[in-house]
């Protein structure tokens, strides 16, 4: 534990986690409520990024529809709330089950394909749900649906921003913990071996499809959890939360942070949100109105990472020891 702090990676990671842990105290002290809302979205997106990293980073499966789990988790909460089912004890398990089921279905079909076809099929399924969401007149169609936050009477009040933030952070840490165990477990090694050489793994006697399907489903479940939290964060769901742009953002986050590394998604999510928030005002300093075009700076930055730091931000923090 202490030895880990002596490496740049350990130190940076520890500082980031400590900063996240005390964020509500800081934002309260400096009266910056908006920052807490960004922090909340960072840890929620962090959960989704860690879950995508399990299949994309460790498994080599480029799923281009991961934001669909934001939508399914979110809409499940929203629709139940709309019909008066506001208890989180009912909403959350149902939402998780819906995301898990959908992941199992999509995985069962898409994992029979490889490479570009896999990318296109996962995208197609996500778009399908996206358009269904936009067609749900009863639930606001494209405009989305205002919802009330899930209720856990006597346990936690999600309307309290700080409590909600800490819940999200705790779930993020739990997801990270699971991923750290998963990565070196028997299951994780099969998934990583199949990324390295699928045919070899089959020739060793592993039914690779089955393991990948389980990983895809698991990843979808954690994605659904992120969706539940995202809906509660904004008290709002809309098809936009599962547009292909969000799926792309998630891939960018995982690649930016470092694919197949434990803390890569954490670095990636923080970098992504900080740049998204900081670049526009910075550019506005140069000339009023330039801030709108912040992606002109963000894009080339990603290109530089792709060209010169193949392992993402994680690789900038020094060599890995295993």
């Amino acid at each position: 534990m202490i030895a880990a702090l002596r490496t740049p990676r350990g130190l940076v990671t520890a500082l980031l986690l400590v900063a996240l842990a005390v964020l509500p105290l800081l934002t309260q002290a400096f009266d910056q409520r908006y920052l807490l809302s960004i922090g909340t979205r960072i840890v929620i997106w962090g959960i989704a990024a860690v879950s995508l990293n399990m299949i994309l980073g460790y498994g080599g499966l480029v799923s281009f529809g991961h934001a669909v789990f934001f939508g399914i988790g979110g809409y499940a909460v929203g629709i139940m709330g709309h019909h008066g089912v506001t208890s989180g004890w009912v909403q959350w398990p149902v939402a998780l089950a819906a995301a898990t089921l959908w992941a199992a279905l999509v995985g069962a079909l898409s994992l029979r394909t490889r490479g570009l076809y896999f990318i296109m099929i996962t995208l197609a399924f996500a778009q399908l749900v996206y358009y269904i969401g936009g067609g749900l007149e009863a639930y606001g169609a494209d405009d989305g649906l205002n919802i009330s936050r899930s209720r856990f009477p006597g346990v936690i009040d999600l309307r309290d921003k700080a409590s909600f933030y800490w819940l999200c952070l705790a779930l993020f840490c739990a997801t990270l913990w699971f991923c750290s165990r998963f990565a070196n477990s028997r299951f994780g090694l099969v998934i990583r071996g199949a990324k390295s050489n699928e045919l070899r793994m089959q020739a060793l006697g592993f039914p690779v499809f089955r393991y990948r399907l389980a990983a895809f489903t698991l990843s979808g479940a954690f994605g659904g959890l992120a969706g539940i939290l995202l809906a509660n964060e904004g008290a709002y769901v809309s098809p936009a939360m599962m547009s292909w742009v969000k799926s792309g953002d998630l891939i960018v986050i995982v690649v930016l942070g470092g694919m197949g590394t434990l803390f890569g998604p954490l670095y990636g999510t923080i970098a992504f949100f900080v740049l998204e928030e900081a670049l526009p005002p910075l550019l506005d300093l140069f000339r009023k109105g330039w801030g709108e075009y912040w992606q002109i700076v963000f894009g080339p930055l990603l290109v530089l990472i792709a060209l010169y730091a193949r392992g993402g931000i994680d690789s900038l923090l020094g060599k890995r020891d295993g």
């Binding site: 165990r181 070196n184 028997r186 050489n197 070899r200 060793l204």
Partner: protein, 250 residues
């Protein structure tokens, strides 16, 4: 005679107009080393691919350990005890040598739906894997990434992986390819020591190795098995000499 471990019956595989496997019936007996030889393009790899389940034959059957496995997927055949090494070295390059063999052990240790315990500290996987590495002479390279091993060492690693599941039959697809004479000779010695314990189907271009090791040899030419017999019989076979061996083994 004992029932053969592996047998094919009138196996046919066509690619368009080309008959890559033409009515091939072969048998590998328990514990024997059966070599498959033939010129380039004779269809050796196509035949092996059907045996492992990589390719489905058009007609004919494959029996292994007393059951019809013609339509069984690759991983299921492996579980029955049919292991293989690859012609083009196929190790998990990002993993250490020990990890590679440990995964092979894991494949035979029941299902791998275990999500939390650290497999790299699991002695039930590590100890047999270490023994397997030592058996092929790679004990000192356990922690080296497979990608950093020499070509010959990677071939040895392949064999350690194939043996990890204690298979009844080992398919060796050109195990000596790209090896130096010393490495080849060491592998020959190692394989000979295994003889009698496991059946082996050996595809190999190195005729010295084949004639040293094989109990029986099948010669494949243009997809057809033109002869099967002991090394002496094959050496003496006129048709084989004409079609293939020629001056090489005269």
């Amino acid at each position: 005679m004992a029932e053969p471990l592996l047998s094919t019956e009138r196996l046919v595989k066509r690619f368009g107009g080309l008959v890559a496997t033409d009515n091939v019936s072969i048998e590998v007996r328990p514990g024997e080393i059966h070599a498959l030889i033939g010129p380039n393009g004779a269809g050796k790899t196509t035949l092996v691919s059907q045996l492992t389940g990589n390719l489905a034959p058009d007609t004919g059957t494959i029996r292994f350990a007393g059951r019809d496995v013609t339509r069984l997927p690759m991983h299921a055949r492996v579980r029955l005890g049919l292991a293989r090494s690859f012609q083009i070295t196929a190790v998990l390059r990002e993993f250490s040598a020990l990890d590679n063999v440990a995964l092979a052990v894991q494949a035979h240790a029941g299902h791998s739906f275990r999500f939390l315990a650290d497999a790299r500290r699991d002695e039930r996987l590590r100890a047999p894997a270490r023994r397997g590495l030592e058996a092929v002479g790679l004990g000192h390279r356990a922690d080296t990434p497979a990608a950093a091993l020499s070509h010959g060492e990677q071939r040895q690693l392949e064999i350690a992986m194939a043996l990890a599941g204690e298979p009844a039959l080992l398919l060796l697809d050109e195990p000596m390819a790209g090896m130096g004479p010393d490495e080849s000779q060491r592998l020959v010695t190692f394989l000979r020591a295994l003889k009698g314990q496991r059946g082996m189907l050996l595809i190999e271009h190195d005729m010295d190795a084949v004639f040293q090791l094989a109990d029986r040899i099948t010669v494949l030419v243009y997809g057809r098995a033109i002869a099967t017999g002991t090394p002496d019989e094959i050496r003496a076979n006129e048709e084989v000499r004409r079609a293939y061996l020629g001056d090489e083994a005269a």
